[in-house]
Symmetry: C3
Subunit: 203 residues, 3 copies
């Protein structure tokens, strides 16, 4: 099993859990929870594959993805009941999903020899679109549009990865550093309530 | 004209009517009603075709679909005025659309020799996604996420169809039974307010 | 540089500005403004290209589009601050975007030798879908569903263009007339609060 497919499975798992928690917060029935896990976990990769024309999309061809998602959703429903508050766990799984899938997207772009800017864009789409669908379907304001630095974290992580490859770092190593960077940045940003400068203030 | 294309046209008609009723409930203008009929009727099949890479999508190649939709929308605007309450009629057309399109999706999967699980998933996507778009655009909570058994009905119907084929039932016959099963299940579920067990109750 | 690509760049610019204004109205941070400009400007063309199977979609292959969008977003953030009210400017840019992109879509359909009805539909999709995404993401009711004549303007403009070609008018000339027609129609409709006849009134 390749390094890349491990990252992919971890990302799928992380986003499936985040989708399940969001659905449980809104008290959907078990079936709704599974659908939301599914949509959150495959949303970003599916949009990316549609845009680059790589069809049939991946999860139609691989049973693993579907199994991981269903397992994640069921585990979340089972163990999630014991958690007092979903929000912190949900946030962490979302942050890991963002980091892992950003890297998957950037690497897909590199394989297809797109320009660096487009590779980073594909990373951001892969990393953030599943969460956008999750939030739109549940009538939440998408995380990506809230004040906190979200898509920016994905973009910076993508750029970091390309820079590390540029200085000839071994790719799996560069991946892990960039993923950790994105997760850490998300935690710091939310912990200290950082945001981009407000351009609407007028004295 | 093949059996499959008859089912397809009936499904298109049923969802177009359901889209038109939803739009009229929100008092959209005639043009908005036609757009919503269109989006509801082609939504599921379009997503399915995009996912499996079968493009240009079908309704771009066939004038029949467009004609059926416009006729359905106009008929609904004309006759719908005489109905006191839209909700029951809307519910029935939605149930038939779900049943008919689920079968179309499963059969498309079989043609492309996907695994049984993916065939059922394609059926559910084809059957339910048009309604999801309809509800999202009109700011309703998608039926698929409400407590009532909805996507589950589509999944069970898809499985039933595959089982009937397995025991060598003649395909059009198996189709009709499965479609009737889905419609009947939806009616029973809504009539008797059945739902999946609630996992949020805590004594 | 061809006549068509000039129209395309102008349309991209107009919709990017309209997306940026909408985002600023909702006080998104600078990054959110850029994302919304992007989604609004590429939404219609992307859906069209996905539907006809022309992938990888255009903006993945052309850096120009991305540059124009980012420039438009930054310019809007900079100069937009000096405007008292966004709504009129936003409306005008949206109207120009609708006109310009409708023509791009119709011409794409003609190139692929689709039937006239489908060419007009591709024009309407290209012209209006970016705005639909913009409005859905910001939780506004999509313009296309409001009472004012919007998609109808795009359809009429597309038909006008096909008619002008039919009488052998030089294509760039026919384009400019049709674009102006759509923009003018939008202005008149909004200025004089015109709408399609109301079918819900019952005495």
């Amino acid at each position: 099993m390749s390094f890349l497919s491990i990252i992919d499975i971890l990302g799928t798992f992380a986003f499936a859990v985040s989708g399940a928690f969001s659905a449980m917060e809104k008290k959907l029935d078990p079936f709704g929870v599974i659908i939301l896990s599914f949509v959150t976990a495959i949303g970003g990769g599916t949009l990316r594959d549609l845009l680059i024309g790589d069809t049939p999309v991946r999860w139609l061809r691989s049973g693993t993805t579907t199994l991981v998602i269903i397992a994640a959703a069921i585990a979340t429903m089972f163990f999630g009941k014991f958690l007092k508050r979903f929000s912190i766990t949900l946030f962490l799984f979302d942050a890991f999903g963002l980091g892992l899938f950003t890297l998957i997207g950037v690497q897909k772009g590199l394989q297809l020899e797109f320009s660096p800017g487009i590779c980073v864009a594909l990373g951001t789409i892969t990393g953030s679109f599943g969460g956008v669908i999750r939030d739109v379907l549940l009538n939440n304001v998408p995380l990506v549009f809230r004040k906190e630095i979200y898509a920016s974290a994905s973009i910076l992580g993508g750029i970091l990865y390309l820079l590390l490859l540029k200085v000839d770092m071994f790719s799996p190593f560069a991946s892990i550093i960039s993923i950790m960077f994105i997760v850490a940045l998300r935690i710091i940003v939310v912990r200290y309530k950082l945001a981009l400068p407000d351009m609407y203030r007028r004295e």
